[in-house]
Point group: C3
């Protein structure tokens, strides 16, 4: 089994969960925040059988869109130690997926 630790934008979550459930996957949702833009996003834990990883990734690709955020980027280093806020276009990915091996799965 593999655990897909998947970080997506909030607006893609309803569509992604629906298509995952329809296809027999299971998932757990955790509210999270991006370290750079400090904007809320969502971390999904998706445990899948080894032979289903590609299927799950395909569903994630189908529903999660890249977007440009015209945000005030808070974290631009301006000389060691001080940060200046400035308007900037930051592309936020469709999804970030860390695939981790599950040595053992227990359903108690």
């Amino acid at each position: 089994m593999k655990l897909l630790i998947t970080i997506v934008q909030d607006q893609d979550v309803p569509g992604l969960l629906e298509i995952l459930m329809e296809n027999g996957f299971s998932a757990t949702k955790l509210a999270s925040t991006g370290g750079f833009l400090r904007v809320g996003n969502t971390t999904l834990l998706i445990g899948v059988d080894n032979n289903k990883v590609e299927g799950a990734l395909a569903l994630i690709k189908k529903t999660c869109k890249k977007r440009e955020q015209n945000d005030i980027v808070p974290m631009i280093p301006f000389g060691r130690g001080s940060m200046i806020p400035r308007m900037d276009k930051v592309t936020v990915g469709g999804a970030i997926v860390f695939i981790v091996n599950v040595e053992r799965f227990e359903k108690i």
Copy 2:
């Protein structure tokens, strides 16, 4: 060391944390939501020494009960794309445990 990523029902959390702490385990609690029933649950991170995995699992088994939720199940596919809500008994497990290897543990 192993990390037990453990998903349990909210009502089992106080009892589970108490018995884990009493037995010298440590844990971190994250609020989460089930992808299927969309009901709040709890994700625990429990880092344990390799020789303590069985002990931790035994405590989880002791405190986490299977329950039937008479929920309106929101996610029953009814032909591609549309979902019909219907009353259904869904069994929600005692606990779901993903056991992941920790290559290195640092206490800073």
Copy 3:
């Protein structure tokens, strides 16, 4: 790639995120709670290239301080089953870091 699942005290989070971002790291923040003291803390997911693990750990060491919490410790076993609260000094670490291998990383 490695995923650093890092548990830190809330007051160290702004400084740690700033120094991580300034050094080109990325991170995702999850609100969490300690299992023993039941006090809010923060769990950071920090995915880093294999050759950057030491660099990330050094930044964590630099910003996360050990503190003594003069808390009422809720979890002292007093004979099997009952817990008595008592005032106690509990040292809460700078940071707890679980380093987990990422088999595959996808940016969709």
